[in-house]
């Protein structure tokens, strides 16, 4: 297997405190837990383009300084309870944005540009909250105005793949923004459910290959998306998610949850044992 493959702990070490970290919605949750185990702090998250459990969890664990996102929620469970509480308490900064701005900002970052025009937005209060967005006459049609936004080129992207081949080519579903995020970020790390010689032999209509040339390191993390699902392999674990949402109702119960589930487990093997016993049925 290519030298790209490392341990989960080694991957987490490539994400220092203060990293601008980009997360598409298929979270490498095992790696997020490992970051918390290693006590990571002051992360600036770019959610691609919205955040849910993965972002809310890192905020709850005290690892996050700011979040830039089109929205943050807990999927069908509603509000991002930990994030909203931390935001109200001034413990985390929210950088106002919108999904298309993050998408096209990442594209501009991926193309080495410092900025990009953005359509719409004029008349929105978001322009008041983002003084770094500029309204200028369109250079190709000075009769109208256009908004410019800075590009987004995160330090590190974290991706979870459905499978990979031994050379580090990773298969993802096409429903999220793994590809865009890999293109835009300086360092790209991925966990994968499994490594198989035949990983690329056959794709489903809703799968894609992210070429190995994007990746700086990979780790194998079976069930690595838990408590969320991994597309086509396993579903969201609603029993575990309900325990999360229940814990998220107060800062204290959430602290207990993080202590027990993550800081209380030395590694992912222990996490999986705990998950089987206490959380649900991994």
């Amino acid at each position: 297997m290519a030298e790209l493959y490392r341990s989960l702990a080694e991957l987490a070490e490539l994400v220092p405190d203060g990293t601008r970290l980009c997360l598409p919605k298929q979270y490498p949750f095992a790696l997020l837990r490992e970051l918390v185990r290693q006590g990571r702090r002051d992360l600036d998250i770019v959610a691609a383009p919205t955040g849910n459990f993965g972002v809310d969890f890192l905020v709850a664990a005290g690892a996050v300084r700011s979040v830039e996102a089109g929205a943050i929620h807990l999927n069908e469970y509603g509000f991002a309870l930990n994030f909203n509480r931390a935001w109200e308490a001034g413990q985390v900064r929210f950088i106002e944005s919108s999904c298309p701005i993050i998408e096209i900002g990442l594209h501009a970052g991926s193309a080495g540009l410092s900025f990009t025009p953005v359509p719409g937005l004029i008349g929105s209060d978001i322009l008041r909250d983002r003084p770094d967005f500029l309204v200028v006459p369109d250079p190709y049609d000075p009769e109208v105005d256009v908004v410019l936004a800075p590009s987004i080129a995160p330090d590190v992207a974290l991706i979870h793949g459905l499978r990979a081949d031994p050379h580090g080519n990773v298969v993802c579903s096409i429903y999220n923004d793994e590809r865009l995020v890999a293109q835009a970020s300086t360092t790209v790390l991925a966990t994968v459910e499994e490594v198989r010689e035949d990983a690329l032999d056959v794709l489903a209509f809703d799968e894609q290959v992210i070429p190995s040339i994007y990746f700086d390191a990979l780790a194998v993390a079976p069930r690595g998306a838990h408590p969320l699902g991994a597309h086509g392999l396993y579903e969201d674990d609603h029993a575990a998610l309900r325990i999360y949402v229940q814990a998220a109702k107060s800062a204290e119960t959430m602290r207990n949850y993080v202590d027990r589930v993550v800081r209380g487990t030395a590694d992912e093997a222990e996490y999986r044992r705990l998950a089987v016993e206490e959380l649900s049925h991994v």
């Binding site: 383009p49 919205t50 996102a69 089109g70 929205a71 943050i72 929620h73 069908e76 509000f79 991002a80 909203n84 935001w87 109200e88 106002e96 944005s97 919108s98 999904c99 298309p100 701005i101 998408e103 096209i104 594209h107 953005v118 359509p119 719409g120 937005l121 004029i122 008349g123 929105s124 209060d125 978001i126 369109d138 049609d141 009769e143 109208v144 105005d145 256009v146 096409i174 429903y175 999220n176 923004d177 793994e178 590809r179 865009l180 209509f205 809703d206 894609q208």
Partner: protein, 243 residues
């Protein structure tokens, strides 16, 4: 929660927004506009295509749909909001509380761009209250207005509620009352709206669902939705039997 008859009426009103060969998006977890899309496809818009739905293969990532709508190719987008004001400004993000604090919702999502990019925006709302229809939104997520230095592909057109159809008048830059559903009155709608509602040109009573529309809804439309929206279909069909 609105009753089954009202939900059916609203699905039919959504359907009537759709013309054949249009490209559209109804948003996830919205069974009523989803039923509207399928009803229109069944009866008069067999070639209307909803992004990532039914026979249309999915896009790669969220960005690809954004490109489609920014390119001006999405004819109709069903939107929702937390507040809508008399000028058609919409708010998805923050509501001011009486104690001066701000209540945070989930975020702007794609509204600050899509609200300007779809050719027609239809708002869909299962409750008609002055909490939603406010004089001025607490935060402008996106604005419906046009002005000479702003390029937009389209804007808000209709707002479908359990009581009425409201309409954005771009000349007046304001929302008007287009039609009131049977069993409701102008006064009732006005009382449930936080700003004064002029009557739109051609104002009248909402045309009720036709027999053909209801038959299609009860048959092929609910059949095709049973997989994705089982609870919705079960509820609609249980009432169908007792009603």
């Amino acid at each position: 929660m609105s009753d089954v008859r009202t939900d059916e009426l609203m699905a039919v009103l959504c359907a009537r927004q759709i013309h054949d060969w249009e490209r559209l998006a109804a948003g996830a977890n919205s069974p009523i506009p989803a039923a509207g899309v399928r009803l229109a496809q069944e009866l008069w818009a067999p070639n209307a295509r909803e992004a990532g739905s039914g026979d249309v293969a999915p896009f790669i990532g969220a960005k690809e749909f954004t490109q489609l709508i920014q390119r001006g190719k999405v004819d109709l987008f069903f939107f929702s909001a937390v507040q809508l004001d008399r000028h058609g400004n919409m708010n998805l993000q923050y509501v001011d509380l009486p104690d001066g604090r701000r209540r945070r919702f989930q975020g702007a999502f794609a509204a600050p761009i899509y609200y300007y990019s779809a050719k027609r925006i239809v708002m869909f709302r299962t409750e008609h209250t002055p909490r939603f229809f406010v004089d001025q939104v607490d935060y402008v997520t996106a604005s419906a207005a046009s002005h000479p230095r702003l390029r937009r592909h389209g804007t808000l057109t209709d707002i479908i509620t359990p009581l009425a159809v409201l309409r954005y008048n771009p000349e007046a830059a304001g929302i008007e009352l287009a039609s009131v559903h049977e069993g409701h009155t102008v006064a009732e709608v006005q009382a449930a709206t936080g700003f004064s509602l002029p009557l739109a040109d051609g104002f009248g009573t909402t045309v009720p669902p036709s027999e053909q529309e209801l038959e299609a809804l009860h048959g092929p439309v609910y059949d095709s939705m049973a997989g994705l929206y089982p609870q919705f279909v079960a509820r609609m069909r249980s009432e169908e039997k007792v009603g």
